[in-house]
Amino acid sequence: MRENTRLSVAHLVRDPVLLFLVILVFTGLFLFILLPLYKIFSYSITTNEGKLSFQAAWDILRSRTYLQPLKNSMLLGLTTGILATIIGYVFAYALTRVDMPLKGFFKTIATIPIISPPFILSLSMIFLFGRNGLITNKLLGMEDSNVYGMHSLVVVQTISFFPIAYLTLTGTLAKLNPAVEDAALNLGASRGRIFRTVTLPLSVPGILSSFLLVFIQSMEDFSNPAVISGNFSTLAVEAYRTITGMYDMRGGSLMALMLLAPTLIAYVLQKYWLSGKSFVTVTGKPTTSRRQSRDPKLMWPLFAFCMLVSLTIILFYGTVLVGAFVKIWGINFSFTWAHFKYVMTLGWTPLRNSVVLALASTPIAGLLGMIIAFLVVRKEFPGKRAMEFISMLTFAVPGTVVGIGYILAFNGKPFMWTGSAFLLIMAFTFRNMPVGIESGTSTLIQIDRSIEEASTILGATGAVTFRRISLPMLKQAFFSGLVYSFVRAMTAVSAVIFLISPRWNLATISIFSLFESSKYSDAAAYIVVMIVIIIVVIGGLNLLVGRLGNSGTVSSGGSGERA
């Protein structure tokens, strides 16, 4: 044991770049994850007079008000996690393995719900399925449909979160060595059998990390349950209301910290399950590109499924789009540009701020995510497990608490950063990079490390290897990491409530406020503009990341036949 620690320390000393990165990452993790969490925890157990007291903690534990919400949150997280992962997997499988029509369309549609600005899907849900809903009331003539509750929440969250599963799993499936599947095919196995015995087991890391990401997001989701959960209370919302409605910041913070428990358990289970198993499918012994199945018995059901999901998404987003162009959503459907004028004039500054901050945090979060994934999978150094673990923490904590923790930690010497763009950028970075880390990790464990060693022995330093070899191979994961951090930064609500300042007001807060003033169409217009911006940025990122080098194994580029 000691021997190995000594060795890995020696390793660090011999590799100054690695040493620098490890120190940099740990400093970041300490400052922007551990310190705020510590601050909020110690705040919760200290009285106003600065004395240590477990009274608040005891009150919360004794009152048991957290129990039902905690159970609800877990139930919701599990349901959404499973559903979103299944849908994401089917999409990813269909789009990487099967030759079917309208692929480009499905690819686009599947990524759109990532861009689900807060409240909006819930609002669509109400407009479509509420008592006055287009479908339930106008179409089906129902007077008393109940749109509030867990069922709606599951629908809305599954739509919102399945793209993460889709993106993560696409990365996994695209990297899965086709030779392995071909080999099975040559052995006479049927497609179904290959899927069960080869493809599915090898994509387990991707499946688990998708599930984990969705589970966590569902648990800490604030804006959807806040709008549509009805009497089904979730812990994230309950914590928020305890803080803002009961004026009990200590109790609310503790409740929010409780969310860490199930998340961490899920996380540890996932790591435990994956440890000691090999998922290497990219060995550097190149393999020929995949032939996609044209079997109609496989293709049409998948096509129908993708179509159904896509239409649902279009329905929800179409509702928003229509909402943005009508005079009064739900009442007066005559066409107007007024809401867009509002966004472009009064609403412009917060929107610009959101874009600027999100753009600033995106490359940092994306790169840091890849660096951490790389360090954790590829390098030996003391504290490796801790790094992996800590980096996932803020992702799992409800934003409200992260926000409060940030104020407590950075509103005084030595870190006077409240109200600054820097702090918002850091909050975005450290809160949003876990998606990159997860997809990076699950991709990296599929890539034989000798490819990186080959680069090293040819004279490349660690940094050069990372930039020219690892990163291009992580393209897909890097891309998902970038897209996801950008979108999450643009659409963050609960974390930024406490971090915005007069100088740095953000679009989501404006949307929330419009929403509360029943200005649904203004909010919708805001969201439409936001979606357009996000799509443009994703397109740009796609181009940039594409220039990282053409990957011979990525399935999308038809890279030719067997020589």
């Binding site: 509420g130 806040a226 209370s233 009442i331 509103n411 005084g412 763009a421 950028i425 409530i497 406490f498």
Partner: protein, 343 residues
């Protein structure tokens, strides 16, 4: 690629340098305000104030509960000088926790004692009465008339049609609870809420949601403050307010100086509070279409707004309400749980 990589690393390292905020000049013409009033009203007050004084207001808009939490978290180094808007019961815990600077505007001389803060921190600037936001379409379709008393809400035709925030999560709703308790005594109140539970569509999380539910047709009646209740109507949704003739509670909208806020803004902050309470500021509720009722006796209430005098307002005691909060809310939870079991 290499350049991009390097520049990103440099950017990462340099970022903290950009974080230094704007520094002041001797004649400081800025004021930082935390406000809970809706975004749409703010330009009216802030631009008029700037016209009069040359002071530019920078603001953050959040709900009152969020503001309280934020001010509490920022206690060590407050970022704003004035807390503008939010019901008085948000200011009570703030004052108790030493988050507010004691300041009473000279303009309070023109404001009835009943609205004033005995502790000397909050400066009341509007009153909003609790009423019933009604979906006009729903009532028209059924030929029913709007409820005009608390007992009207118990009518069987409103079964599962009333939206009300939950008192454990909403200040608005707690005001409703406290009002009923003060009107009918605790025994009577619990009886009332047990009966009301039959007609409740949902207990929403936020106090602003019930009128939205009504606007969207999710509920026929929302129990809410008048200025929140009329917001959907202002946007074109079929919502009208009615008020209980047997008396109702109200919220006192307040503002206060934040303790240890940016020192150079302190004078500007006092100026703003005075200005907002003056006849000039109070008359702006008309312009901002907020339906808030001015508390300054010299001001004219906005057209269409309900004046406090025209309502039979009960003598709502915010201090008592604040002190009994935890107990009442717990009891409410029990009552509702029991009522749900009967359903």
């Amino acid at each position: 690629m290499r350049k991009i990589f390097l520049s990103m690393m440099v950017l990462f390292c340099l970022l903290p340098l950009f974080s230094v905020g704007a520094q002041g000049t001797p004649e400081y013409k800025f004021l930082t305000v935390y406000t809970a009033l809706p975004e749409s009203e703010l330009p009216t007050y802030f631009s008029e104030f700037e016209k009069d004084t040359g002071i530019k207001i920078q603001y953050v808009r959040l709900s009152a509960g969020e503001l309280l939490a934020r001010i509490r978290a920022e206690k060590g180094n407050p970022q704003a000088s004035v807390w503008f808007g939010g019901s008085y019961d948000n200011f009570v815990p703030a004052a108790k926790d030493g988050l507010l600077e004691a300041y009473q505007s000279p303009e309070l001389a023109n404001i009835p004692k009943v609205y004033q803060d005995a502790m000397g921190y909050a400066n009341p600037f509007y009153v909003g009465a609790i009423g019933f936001a009604c979906n006009t379409d729903w009532f028209k379709k059924r030929g029913l008339s709007y409820p005009t008393s608390w007992d009207d809400l118990l009518k069987p035709e409103f079964k599962s049609q009333i939206s009300m925030a939950h008192p454990s999560t909403s200040g608005t709703s707690y005001t409703i609870l406290a009002t009923i308790v003060q009107m009918r005594g605790e025994e009577g109140a619990w009886k009332y809420f047990t009966a009301l539970n039959q007609n409740i569509r949902q207990y929403t999380k936020s106090g602003t949601t019930p009128p939205m539910d009504v606007g969207l047709g999710e509920a026929a009646i929302g129990i809410t403050f008048s200025h929140d209740g009329l917001k959907p109507a202002f946007e074109g949704y079929p919502v009208a307010m009615s008020f209980p003739k047997d008396g109702t509670g109200y919220e006192i909208g307040c503002m206060a100086l934040i303790k240890n806020g940016p020192a150079k803004e302190m004078a500007n902050g006092k100026l703003f509070i005075d200005w907002m309470l003056s006849k000039r500021g109070q008359n702006l509720f008309e312009t901002s279409k907020s339906f808030r009722i001015p508390v300054n006796t010299q001001a004219t209430p906005p057209k269409g707004a309900i004046s406090v005098d025209s309502l039979k307002v009960i003598n709502y005691d915010p201090v008592w309400a604040g002190n009994n909060r935890t107990r009442l809310v717990e009891q409410f939870n029990k009552v509702v749980a029991a009522a749900n079991n009967l359903k």
